[in-house]
């Protein structure tokens, strides 16, 4: 098995142990402990400034925790090296797309950086999945937010990542696109990916999440895998955290 293949096989969970992150004197995260497993969709919920994006930044390896450790499978990030990033796909608040490049060029550029084999077929499939085949040669700067969001999702999934981190993935999507995104997330789950979704759009993720982690003021207030609507679970968790 190649080193990358071995990495992918061993990478069946992401474990955060006592993670804290400070920006100067401001505390963004405080002692968060959490495990996300393969084949599971974890929802990260919380009010603005709760620390959701920081947590996603830490899981993506872009942000270093001030304290604590993140383990990918059985190993911390430091032991994986650059190869770890080949198994992580991130859709951020900002979409990580070049406005002056076309949809196809954006996908080809990032696919090239990841050294993907059969890039042309993958890019064609991604454009198909984003329903952007007819707009493939248009510059991204002329796309609406929804079209860019769809393209950005495909960019994040182009290299078939093991860990999928999505920050507000439903922003700007129309109803049809939101349903398709939900279906896509279920496919990722079935394929055994570790999926983490930070969102405020509770209706869009209803029935989709296997577990819900609620954050407030940088602290993890509750992890809930019980039933009920996401909004009810979130309200319950927030109420308990106040009491």
């Amino acid at each position: 098995m190649t080193p990358d293949g071995a990495a992918a096989a061993a990478f069946d969970a992401v474990e955060l142990r006592d993670i804290s992150r400070h920006y100067g004197r401001r505390r963004a995260l405080a002692r968060v402990t959490l495990t996300c497993r393969a084949g599971q969709i974890l929802g990260l919920l919380g009010p603005n400034g709760a620390g959701k994006s920081t947590l996603i930044g830490i899981m993506s390896t872009l942000v270093r925790p001030s304290l604590g450790e993140v383990r990918y499978g059985s190993r911390p990030a430091s032991q994986w090296g650059d190869a770890l990033r080949a198994h992580i796909g991130v859709l951020g608040h900002d979409l990580f797309l070049y406005g002056d490049l076309t949809a196809r060029e954006n996908l080809e550029f990032f696919g090239g950086l990841y050294g993907l084999p059969d890039l042309t077929q993958r890019v064609d499939a991604a454009l198909e999945a984003a329903r952007l085949v007819e707009r493939a040669n248009d510059r991204v700067s002329v796309f609406s937010r929804g079209l860019r969001q769809r393209l950005a999702l495909e960019r994040a999934l182009l290299h078939r990542p093991r860990l999928v981190l999505l920050d507000e993935p439903f922003t700007g999507l129309d109803d049809e696109s939101a349903v398709l995104l939900a279906a896509r997330l279920k496919t990722l789950k079935t394929a055994g990916s570790v999926v983490v979704v930070a969102t405020h759009d509770f209706e869009a993720v209803d029935g989709l999440l296997d577990a819900v982690a609620c954050l407030r003021e940088g602290r993890l207030r509750a992890i809930d895998s019980a039933g009920g609507t996401v909004r009810e679970r979130y309200r319950q968790a927030m109420r308990e955290s106040w009491s």
Partner: protein, 228 residues
């Protein structure tokens, strides 16, 4: 090593494609450099069309440094707009590849602008561009590499700073003073009525040493600098 060079080439090519479409950096940098030379021409060329002796080399390098600083400020600004810098850092490539890619694209742009700048200085200041064209090309190439090598590192360091436009020249000029001095002295030796190519070669060797030191240090520090 091949992976680093391949990724660097992809990043540089992407930057050049974007620049070819927007022409934002090229037009801004060229306009500024030409304006700078014209202002100096009014100051240092008398009514008879005679330039101040020895001024051409200094004006050439001032125009290169000032216009290069403008280009440097924008090179990472583009990556900030849609946070594509984070996407580059998320890719499984070694961080020096990002540095080398940005540096290569910037060098192509700066050298293209220098073609016009050098011709204009030759025209307005009677500079003997044909005296030692290869030596002059060597000085310009190595000087530009030294200037851009430090500049790209500082521009990357400052990309998340609000006062980056002010801080970049404040940090960059003191560090690149040796490069500019070597460039000016070497070019003066070529532009002199009796060109001294040995002296120019000495300054060229010094510039090459600066380049080696600056690029090595930048490659070494770029990764830690880009970590949040």
């Amino acid at each position: 090593m091949t992976g680093v060079l391949r990724a660097a080439w992809q990043i540089a090519r992407k930057d050049l494609v974007i620049e070819a479409r927007s022409r934002e950096l090229a037009s801004m940098t060229l306009f500024f450099a030409v304006a700078c030379i014209l202002v100096f021409a009014f100051a240092f060329v008398d009514d008879m069309g005679r330039p101040l002796p020895g001024a051409a080399a200094g004006i050439l390098w001032v125009a290169i440094a000032f216009s290069g600083t403008l280009a440097l400020g924008r090179t990472f600004e583009r990556e900030r707009q849609s946070e594509t810098l984070r996407a580059l850092l998320l890719a499984p490539v070694e961080r020096p590849a990002v540095y080398l890619g940005k540096l290569s694209a910037l060098l192509v742009l700066m050298l293209a602008v220098e073609l016009v700048v050098v011709a204009l200085v030759g025209l307005l200041f009677d500079a003997p561009l044909g005296a030692a064209p290869w030596m002059l090309s060597g000085l310009l190439l190595s000087g530009t590499i030294g200037f851009a090598a430090v500049g790209v590192l500082f521009a990357a360091m400052l990309v998340r700073t609000r006062t980056r436009d002010v801080l970049l020249p404040v940090l960059l000029y003191p560090v690149t003073v040796p490069v500019v001095i070597a460039g000016v002295k070497g070019t003066q030796a070529i532009f002199a009525p009796d060109p001294n190519l040995d002296l120019a070669a000495m300054w060229l060797a010094m510039l090459i040493s600066f380049d080696a030191a600056f690029i090595t240090l930048s490659l070494w520090t770029f990764g830690p600098v880009m970590s949040e």
